[in-house]
């Protein structure tokens, strides 16, 4: 063989006359043998570039068959190219991994699943084992541990944060301590998963959240695995940034849903039933079906003293959503506290008004108060409207009367006034309290008519003699049909009825015996 000057340093053993096998690497020899073998070449040369390493560098080899049957091998150094290609592949893998991580982590707003996902992905892609630590509640740290190939496991450990260098800092959101500063031998028992063996190297990275640290990520490698390079540590931080954002979103969401759950428990309208011989039924449909609370409310309070009436309050707070719900809560609490005054509706409304007045806003509520007390087989009612649509009384013969009560809305104007009216329900008769969500339901055949007072009265005329629950359901059903799928306001209905069942004992001599069928 022969070689030029450039090939000299590359293949120092290559002197003229030596055999190729002795000087060149095996991949080149094999190719040469293939090429130099007699007969037609089985493989077309085009497009198939031969590559291999020589002396730590990477080369492309291009053969030229010369006239005398010898082969000239042109060796082209493409080490740089190869390195670039390798780096590109790694980067692509990493971006793909980060994209996947974001997808997986953001798919769930459950903090536990987010921590599991973080630990699992970190263990599969970044280290031999990973621990995700949520910020401490006191001394106890919730920890999710995952070993490569295993499933994430959640534990709670009581930890002295200072025994692991860098952990306290990471949990407070400070920049991570370089891996080489952490002595794996100092790792406490809770950090080493079972059957993991000795730890070779450790990376502790903060999980940055939205303004606050969301926890820390600990990556472990076994002794037989290479230690973390600077590049890998930097990449772990990139991953941690995504995981931290997802975990902190999940935590915020969890807090928010705890708050709204709590509010809901407090604000959900109560289930109504018979109290002291008077039938009550109520129904509520919030404006958005996925919200369970809104601006309408109702309550029925049993009499605080024997012989007094049960107090029904039904109202509508202006606005919607959480702000309306908060005002609703205030109103219901205040009314509850004012129950000893339940006999004097006007005074209750005045005191409630004073309690709700705020210099910041003019949010108000309109409401109806109704006291209902059983007298014999009839139910005596006292009704007061604070700027609310008047209650409707459904008589046994199908007449629908509007209670004659008017008043000022509550919570916006210093001076309020209201008139109270009384009525008596014979057995089978009902009084219907409703919010304007019913009458202002927009829909019908043309799609833009209001359900309206008249239509409601006509519907109620057909409800004569129906039990309280039946009337509530009928009104709700009609409103729902009227609306179709259109958006609507909160809708609340409460029906107070004089029950007919008790009337059976009083049939004798009473003209209303015909209702006992």
């Amino acid at each position: 063989m022969r070689c030029n000057d450039a090939a000299g340093p590359l293949l120092p053993a290559a002197a003229p006359g030596t055999s190729l096998v002795d000087v060149a690497p095996a991949w080149l020899c094999a190719a040469h043998t293939r090429l130099a073998s007699p007969g037609p070449h089985p493989v077309p040369e085009t497009g198939l570039t031969l590559r291999g390493d020589i002396g730590g560098r990477h080369f492309e080899a291009h053969p030229t068959v010369r006239g005398d049957g010898s082969v000239a091998w042109w060796l082209v150094d493409d080490t740089g190219h190869q390195l670039a290609r390798e780096a590109l592949r790694r980067e692509r893998e990493r971006s793909a991994f980060l994209a996947k991580a974001s997808n997986v982590l953001l798919a769930s707003l459950n903090l536990g699943r987010c921590m599991d996902g973080t630990a699992h992905m970190a263990a599969e892609n970044l280290a031999d084992a990973a621990l995700v630590i949520a910020p401490a509640r006191g001394q106890r740290l919730p920890v999710v541990t995952c070993v490569r190939g295993g499933a994430p496991a959640t534990t709670t450990v009581t930890v002295d944060l200072d025994e692991v260098p860098g952990l306290a800092e990471a949990l407070r959101g400070f920049p991570p301590v370089p891996s080489r500063w952490i002595d794996p031998a100092t790792a406490p028992g809770w950090m080493t998963p079972e059957r993991f063996g000795p730890v070779g190297s450790i990376v502790i990275t903060p999980l940055p959240g939205h303004g606050v640290p969301a926890g820390a990520l600990i990556l472990l490698r076994a002794t037989e695995t290479a230690a973390f390079s600077d590049e890998e540590e930097a990449f772990a931080r990139l991953f941690a940034a995504r995981a931290g954002a997802a975990m902190s979103a999940a935590r915020l969401y969890a807090e928010q849903s705890t708050v709204s759950d709590m509010l809901m428990r407090e604000l959900l309208p109560p289930d109504l039933h018979q109290i002291s011989g008077v039938d009550f039924a109520g129904g509520y449909r919030p404006s958005a079906d996925h919200e369970r609370i809104g601006g309408d409310f109702y309550d029925v309070h049993p009499a605080t003293v024997e012989g007094a009436g049960a107090l029904v309050s039904l109202g509508d707070v202006c606005g919607k959503g959480l702000e309306a719900a908060v005002l609703t809560g205030k109103i219901r609490n205040t009314l509850h506290a004012l129950l000893p005054l339940a006999d004097d509706h006007q005074r209750m409304l005045s005191l409630l008004n004073t309690a709700l007045l705020s210099s910041h806003h003019t949010r108000f509520a309109t409401m109806v108060l109704a006291s209902a007390v059983r007298r014999g087989s009839a139910v005596d009612l006292k009704l007061t409207s604070g700027g609310h649509p008047s209650p409707l009384i459904v008589r046994a013969d199908g007449t629908v009367e509007e209670a004659d009560t008017h008043g000022t809305l509550i919570g916006a104007i210093p001076n309020v006034s209201a008139t109270t009216t009384t009525a008596s329900l014979a057995p089978g008769e009902s009084c219907v309290l409703y919010t304007d969500g019913i009458t202002e339901a927009k829909g019908g055949p043309m799609g833009d008519d209001l359900f309206g007072d008249e239509r409601l009265k006509r519907a109620l005329a057909g409800c004569a003699g129906m039990p309280a629950e039946g009337i509530v359901e009928h009104v709700q059903m009609l409103a729902a049909q009227w609306l179709g799928n259109r958006p609507h306001d909160d809708m609340a209905v409460v029906v107070i009825s004089a029950p007919r069942t008790h009337h059976l004992s009083a049939v004798n001599g009473h003209t209303r015996g015909r209702f006992t069928a």
Partner: protein, 136 residues
């Protein structure tokens, strides 16, 4: 006036010592704040104002937040010693104001003195022990 008849549009006309805001469209949850902001801006910018006219001829639907806005403007004008006028009220608005017992409050001339948040008689009654009230 506008291509979206439901969207609230305000037209403000200044005079010597009064401002007239014409309301076109719905005064509802989505744009009630717009009116309050405009009215408060006018009140702040012109301390010498004596009258604020809200032209309601082209006013569409008014919901509870719309009424809330009118009450807020009424409160602010009273504080500033300005008289608020709800002109050309459609029947629908009158019905709402009547139902909610706010018609007098929003259309009556402001009291000569300062507004005192008193519910006459009630404070005296509230101070009384509640025991006697809760008898049967």
């Amino acid at each position: 006036m506008t291509t979206h008849p439901n969207h609230l549009e305000l037209t403000t006309v200044d005079a010597q010592d009064s401002v007239r805001i014409e309301l076109h469209g719905d005064l509802d949850h989505d744009n009630a704040d717009l009116l309050v902001q405009e009215a408060v801006a006018q009140l702040t910018a012109r301390p010498a104002l004596t009258d604020l006219y809200l032209g309601c001829a082209d006013l569409g639907a008014v919901d509870s937040m719309g009424l809330c806005a009118l009450l807020m403007i009424s409160r602010r004008t009273t504080e500033a010693g300005v008289r608020m006028h709800l002109d050309d009220r459609p029947a629908r608005l009158d019905r709402l104001l009547t139902l909610t017992g706010t018609l007098d409050h929003l259309t009556a001339p402001p009291p000569a003195g300062s507004v005192t948040p008193s519910i006459t008689g009630e404070s005296a009654m509230a101070a009384r022990p509640t025991g006697p009230d809760s008898t049967t």
